[in-house]
């Protein structure tokens, strides 16, 4: 028996069998995989051995399997490719579960390879055995347990097709050790017909024509765009810009859709929903045509359902038929790739009679500008040199100073107040630059996500806007950052609280701050230094800009501990179960909202 090294077998076109691990890697190479995020263990040793013997695929060693998945998610989100994860059996696979669900909720294409005990031991409670396909069934788009060598290569090819087709998502392949050790026959991708082709259909052009007719009839129209536009590819973002140029309609976006339309464009109203802007939420409430593009009417977006955009004609474009009429009944549902549908909408817009409600649209814009004049994100920063920094001030300056560098910038976040402030203050010019855990709200997402983004874009500026509580959930990834010399900039907005929990406790639970204080925090500067990174701390306003600049200019990893005002709340806020026109505004706006609301009563 002759066993050639991985690098030669990868290119050899032969009908001879190879060890399963080599078949696996060959299939990954054929699928265009360049990077795997993973962590070794007993059940995946044959795969790690095959990785050792080849040069096609780079392996990035994380410090926890959950982080491997988040890193792969950010890699996927920021490149448009499928992210790949490799974990061992048992605890390796169960640690990956949170990341898989995160990818499921945010429609991120991933393939997760997990080790499994040899097939004869399955069901015997073997060491590091878990029913991985059973555990991950509800958190993946699909999963496999490869029981026969001949199923290995076809499973890998189909897994990639499933992960990237339709509404993207995570797929897991469970690989018993006897399959990766034993011999298998390679099958190339073109000889596998994935089952994803079963349910595809052509876009309904009649429905698109009706939708565009409704848009033409709209006097107070609004685009409500989501992560689907990002998933559809950069072409979809371009098409969206063209459609907005053509129509002149305002645009609001979900958290996941930020960047699909330029945040600096006058027609962009900011994010909508629970912490969306005043103008975006009131426009959503009052519009007469709502055009949902690749968004899914999440509860953080809709607020109280019976009061959600009550008088609008609703158009919903989504690639996943199950999203249409799931939460909000829509008047026109269109199934298909949102980029393609936008192109067809543009075609139809130009074909149909000219838009006849220009003066109404101007009046609508005047109303929106009235709402915008409230300046709902304005905050009161004490300008004294030794003043305590407001978290909004920190995030706004991080954004502005990063922008001044002119570098291509990728931003990840953890979950909570700082995430919402980052969503409010960062204005993205391009898609795929904003990496956040939207659907699942996974604390600890941001640091490993920054790893994934920096691996994918070694020359870009990658920042994690973090909270001190969230970032501790995956702080071990400072080790990965050190090992691969990733020049990631971590800005911890440190308010000594799980800020969003504290905010809800203040507003809804009588300020009883039950277990939300971040006690016994580490010294983040020393922590950074112990992981071979630069640690900086800033506590007063006059040092904020200089510290952020210092971090941005440093060419290695930096962790900045920004000590901010503890009791600051994130506004505007639609309390759970309230309507879009029942926002709580910040202290800065409350005074002016009294005058606004007088005029506003006519408007709202």
């Amino acid at each position: 028996m002759t066993r050639t090294t991985g690098s030669t077998t990868l290119t050899a076109q032969t009908t001879a069998t190879q060890p399963g691990a080599e078949v696996l890697l060959r299939a990954l190479v054929e699928q265009g995989v360049e990077v795997i995020f993973g962590y070794p263990g007993g059940a995946v040793l044959p795969i790690y051995d095959a990785l050792f013997k080849q040069n096609h695929i780079r392996h990035v060693l994380v410090r926890h399997e959950q982080a491997a998945v988040h890193a792969a998610e950010a890699y996927a989100r920021s490149t448009g490719k499928v992210g790949v994860v490799l974990v061992t059996s048992g605890p390796g696979a169960t640690n990956a579960v949170t990341g898989l669900l995160d990818a499921m909720m945010d429609s991120i294409p991933l393939v997760c390879l997990s080790g499994q005990v040899p097939t004869p031991l399955i069901g015997n409670d073997a060491f590091q055995e878990a029913d991985t396909t059973g555990i991950t069934r509800p958190v993946t788009k699909y999963n496999y347990l490869v029981r026969k060598p001949e199923d290995l290569a076809p499973a890998v090819h189909e897994a990639f097709a499933i992960a990237r087709s339709g509404r993207p998502g995570p797929v897991l392949i469970d690989l018993p050790k006897n399959i990766t050790v034993g011999d298998a026959l390679y099958v190339d991708a073109k000889s596998v017909t994935p089952r994803t082709t079963r349910m595809t259909s052509e876009p309904d052009r009649a429905a698109i024509a009706r939708a565009v007719a409704a848009m033409k009839a709209g006097k107070r129209p609004l685009f409500y765009t989501g992560g689907g536009v990002i998933n559809s590819g950069p072409q979809a973002s371009k098409a969206l810009r063209k459609l907005v140029d053509l129509t002149g309609f305002p645009v609001t976006s979900t958290l996941m859709g930020l960047g699909a339309f330029p945040g600096t464009d006058r027609r962009f109203l900011g994010m909508l929903g629970m912490h969306g802007t005043y103008e975006a939420n009131l426009a959503t409430h009052d519009c007469d045509v709502l055009i949902a593009l690749g968004s899914r009417f999440d509860d953080r977006v809709t607020g109280r359902l019976d009061a959600f955009s009550p008088n609008s004609f609703k158009i919903h474009v989504d690639i996943d038929p199950s999203q249409i009429n799931k939460i909000v009944h829509v008047n026109e549902g269109i199934v298909g790739d949102v980029g393609q549908i936008i192109d067809l909408m543009i075609e139809e817009w130009e074909k149909q009679p000219a838009y006849a409600h220009k003066s109404d649209l101007d009046a609508w814009w005047a109303q929106i500008e009235g709402w915008r004049a409230l300046d709902c994100l304005r905050f009161g920063q004490d300008q004294a040199p030794d003043a305590v920094i407001k978290p909004q001030q920190a995030i706004q300056r991080i954004y502005e100073l990063a922008r001044q560098t002119g570098r291509d910038t990728y931003v990840s976040t953890e979950v909570g107040q700082h995430q919402m402030w980052a969503a409010q203050f960062f204005r993205f010019d391009a898609p795929n630059r904003w990496l956040t855990s939207g659907g699942l709200g996974t604390m600890g997402y941001g640091l490993p996500a920054a790893v994934g983004a920096q691996i994918a874009h070694p020359d870009a500026l990658v920042m994690d806007v973090a909270g001190e509580a969230s970032t501790l959930m995956n702080i071990q990834e400072l080790g990965t950052i050190a090992q691969y010399r990733l020049p990631v900039k971590i800005f911890i907005i440190n308010n000594h609280y799980m800020g969003m929990v504290r905010q809800w406790q203040e507003l809804l639970h009588g300020s009883r701050y039950s277990e939300s204080y971040s006690d016994a925090l580490p010294d983040f500067v020393k922590l950074a230094e112990s992981f071979h990174a630069t640690g900086l701390r800033v506590t007063r306003l006059d040092q904020l800009d200089a510290t952020i600049r210092q971090a941005l200019e440093h060419n290695g990893p930096v962790l900045v501990d920004i000590c901010v005002e503890e009791g600051e709340n994130c506004f505007p806020m639609i309390p759970s179960g309230a309507a879009h026109n029942q926002m709580i505004l910040g202290p800065e706006q409350e005074a002016s909202s009294a005058t606004i609301s007088k005029e506003g009563q006519m408007l709202v």
Partner: protein
């Protein structure tokens, strides 16, 4: 918003006969809070590679539409038809009903069984096992009639269903 009334629906699926396929379907129902009243599953093609699953579920029209679109997302599912919504169909199930009694109730049980065209597939001096095939309603009423006559055990298959006329699940 108008209030939607709840009703039951028969949903038929064709699925790849692979490990975990049924679990995916059942977990979709439990995970999303849908209801399964009955479920049948068996391979139906000559190679044994495709199974047909029949599910009787209850819900509002919109929630049953959701069930259907959610089922269509499952990779091993190649066909989903809501037979109740798609036109006339036949739905049958089988029950085995055990009655233990003597004297007048025993005679009465046999008489009712004949009226229902149930077959006695097992008979002892003190018991019958009746086999009955038909609509769910027919089985329900038979079981109700047997209850005072010594009914001790019931085993039902759940509904197998197929649309009427020449068209098949593949044509929808």
């Amino acid at each position: 918003m108008q209030v939607e009334v709840s009703g039951s629906a028969v949903i038929s699926l064709l699925v790849d006969n692979e490990s975990g396929a049924l679990a995916r379907i059942v977990e979709l129902f439990s995970g999303r809070g849908y209801n399964i009243q009955s479920l049948t599953v068996a391979p139906v093609d000559e190679h044994g590679s495709t199974s047909r699953v029949n599910i009787v579920t209850t819900g509002t029209q919109s929630s049953i539409r959701q069930v259907k679109t959610q089922l269509e997302r499952l990779v091993p599912v190649s066909r989903v038809v809501n037979l109740t919504a798609e036109g006339p169909y036949v739905a049958r199930e089988m029950a085995l009903v055990k009655v233990v009694s003597s004297g007048e109730p025993r005679t009465e049980a046999l008489r009712i069984a004949q009226a229902f065209r149930a077959r006695a597939v097992d008979t002892t001096a003190s018991s019958f096992v009746f086999e009955l095939t038909g609509s769910t309603d027919k089985l329900d009423s038979f079981i109700e009639l047997m209850r005072p006559l010594g009914l001790v055990e019931v085993s039902r298959t759940g509904v197998a269903s197929i649309c009427r006329g020449p068209q098949t699940i593949q044509n929808f």
